[in-house]
Symmetry: C2
Subunit: 449 residues, 2 copies
């Protein structure tokens, strides 16, 4: 097995985690990585902060460059190489060298598909106008940054009120650009419940973001020079010098589908817990692949850096002859908008309701740190439990400094199958600069007991 060739499609989190794990386990194995973009192992999640001017250089977002993989880890990493076709039968991929335009076939003994996910950009008038961006590859972040430097936009419109949407709204504020945000949903952050999302909405409005919910993007109007002029919704027209589309992502699973590999949840590549696809010796990991959800016990598609890294690690172990299972996800996520911190894990109330689960939800508002300590601000914690067993199945936090990372306590409790009472019983850390004596998470749990 040590002499068998591993080909990896995609050189970011999942692909390079897996390749690195294989390299450590099998120092002599041949490893070839094809990455269509210019960069490897970069922090896509860092792009809004780079655009906002908080990160000095795009280089800081790159954990490891292609030449380092080549020189230090003896991997044949080729950027600007796009895989056009997977031939499962003959165990080979057809690759295009994007710079030279030529194509060639590369054989493999194991193939890892780590093609990521792509931002959803509806086909409509003006969508390709100069100044309209999605965020995907690191290059897209650099492009936005460069555009701001050059064009000095005064007004931005962000389409979509999810993670990218609020992070980019913050970035624009950092750059002194006036921001409007539209979303067709009746709430911000649809991964949270409406009551929690409303707290974010209020704060964003307070911070001078013009938020328009239940408004659908209809078209983008352009100036004579082809640059964006305004965003037209079903209700109004918003002037815009720059537009960010943060309308969600779809897994890059077309290559796999065309090769006859089975797709799963949300058309992500179907995998078992070992990250094996339906084709022999073909693995998939990261944003292009589905994941097992620990609460619903079903496959879901969750495109997050944490998941991609864990996928990559598990795939790498299995590809190099080990045997491990991907542990599953809770969809734990965290972000911030200016001073407001936001996090969620497990099932929201509306997800539990949609799944017709017998659940109970409680929300508390307290303060963090201790009320008398400087900087104490409101924190709201919502917990969802299975009504019968009282086991935690989800949690959401909206608060300020030091609030949202508490979601980890909830995620750990859900994973371990703890009940609300067991959360109340936890010996959590207290000191006035950090918390109230009953941590807000425990206050919420007490409401459920």
């Amino acid at each position: 097995m040590n002499n068998q060739k591993l080909v990896v499609i995609g050189g970011d989190a999942a692909g390079m985690s897996a390749a690195s794990k294989v390299r450590r386990a099998q120092p002599e194995r041949e490893i070839v990585v094809f990455e269509q973009g210019n960069h490897t192992s970069y922090s896509a999640c860092g792009m809004p902060y780079y655009i906002g001017g908080l990160v000095e250089s795009e280089d800081e977002l790159i954990a490891r460059k292609p030449e380092v993989f080549r020189q230090k880890q003896n991997m044949d990493v080729r950027i600007r190489h796009e895989v056009m076709e997977i031939d499962v039968q003959n165990k080979r991929v057809r690759v295009r060298n994007l710079d030279e335009g030529n194509e060639f076939w590369e054989t493999w003994d194991d193939l890892l598909i780590a093609t990521g996910a792509s931002p959803i950009a509806p086909k409509m008038e003006g969508i390709n106008a100069d100044g309209v961006f999605t965020l995907s590859l690191l290059q897209s972040g650099i492009d936005v940054f460069d555009f701001i430097e050059k064009a000095k936009p005064a007004k931005a419109v962000v389409v979509g009120g999810g993670y990218i949407g609020i992070e980019m709204a913050e970035a624009f504020i950092e750059r002194s650009i006036e921001v409007s945000l539209i979303d067709m949903a009746p709430q911000m952050m649809t991964t949270l419940d409406p009551d929690m999302a409303d707290l974010i909405l209020d704060y964003m409005k307070e911070q001078q973001v013009a938020v328009f919910l239940e408004e659908k993007l209809v078209k983008i109007e352009t100036k004579a020079d082809g640059s964006v002029k305004s965003v037209t919704t079903d209700k109004q027209s918003l002037p815009a010098d720059i537009v960010i589309l943060g309308m969600g992502v779809k897994p890059n699973s077309e290559l796999a589908a065309k090769a006859g590999i089975k797709l799963g949840a949300n058309d992500a590549i179907g995998v078992n817990k070992r990250l094996e696809t339906s084709a022999p010796h073909v693995w998939a990991a990261g944003d292009c692949a589905e994941s097992f959800h620990l609460v619903t016990q079903k496959q879901v598609h969750i495109a997050l850096g944490t998941v991609a890294n864990k996928h990559g690690l598990a795939a790498g172990i299995n590809i190099s002859g080990g045997n491990t299972e991907f542990p599953g996800v809770l969809g734990t996520a965290i972000t911030k908008f200016k001073e407001m911190e936001i996090s969620r894990t497990g099932l929201s109330e509306k997800e539990a309701k949609a799944l017709k689960m017998d659940y109970q939800a409680e929300t508390i508002t307290s303060v963090s740190p201790s009320g008398y300590y400087p900087g104490a601000e409101k924190i709201t914690v919502k917990l969802v439990v299975d009504k019968q067993s009282k086991r935690l199945i989800g949690g959401q936090i909206v608060g300020f400094k030091g609030s949202a990372k508490r979601i980890d306590t909830i995620a750990t409790a859900i994973t371990a199958g703890l009940t609300a009472q067991q959360v109340v019983d936890l010996d959590l850390a207290y000191a006035p600069p950090f918390s109230t004596v009953w941590d807000p998470v425990q206050m919420a749990a007490r409401q459920l007991v």
Copy 2:
């Protein structure tokens, strides 16, 4: 039972939590609380921040005043009343009214002892000098504050490098008072391992605290007017205008012992998991009582506000006819010194070694938040596991902003019996402003796998 009288000795966290719980369960029951000090339900943990000038008024440290308990909760709360004797046989206590000097007997059907703990102050020359303080009752914190306002001390000596010691060192710095700290131990913070404590030592020195370890307090020299002049150790003499003794605490269990009630760990009042003492209808809760340790499965004495509140809640449930057990402790604690955050839970490596456990410990140093995000600073996480099962038994964190509350994840994992691999597998929250993609806690766990 509703008409039976409950007498509570001690009006702080444990006593008033219990009394409040009983009141909610039994609206008509007679409840009498004797508190020797001037205040009820105050945050002893907040005193260093009050002294440091971060809290506007001592009133902010008080969660609920005696008159509120009297008026809103119909409790007979009497401050400045000291219980002198417990008569278990005749179910009564002898009480002294400290203002009027008279004594009387009060009968009870249930008695809750919540007398707290007292700072250790060795009997030695000068220990009662003007300007030498311990922190116990809220009044002691007010006294220190008032002394600083009046005497304007230029130099402080803190005896003891534990929580009180480092928090008071910070308070003095906030007040622009030069601080020296002495401890007879070879390390700061003996609840942590020496390697972790050294990080704190280095930082404190950097922040201009003169720290002297392995130095024993010998005597305190006084001026002609009876105020403190200097602190003499076995190695040197340190000039001092104010001295804080933070040399640990001992449980206030003498009353109980004299009444024939069994003492337990560290001479704390012995209790079962229901918080019952060896005497019928006599309960104990808070800093005066022992607690069940979840890892060692033995009784220990841990004087912390979180434990006192949980003790009080459990005792209140049981006293009012319910049936619950105190869930046990891990000794989870957190504090900070200036920008450095410090936390611990479960067993330290040296505790595991002392218990002759077969353990494994690993320490990692990473950054938090993401390395490229503004404000990223070092974080060090140490985890201890049982070597055979790889189950977590302890953790320690030393880092900067947003670091130390991660101890809650570790405490939750220990309580749930998770292994290092299960911690690696947790779906914890990541975004650049909060964390690296593998949380530092998981990085430490990966070292153990």
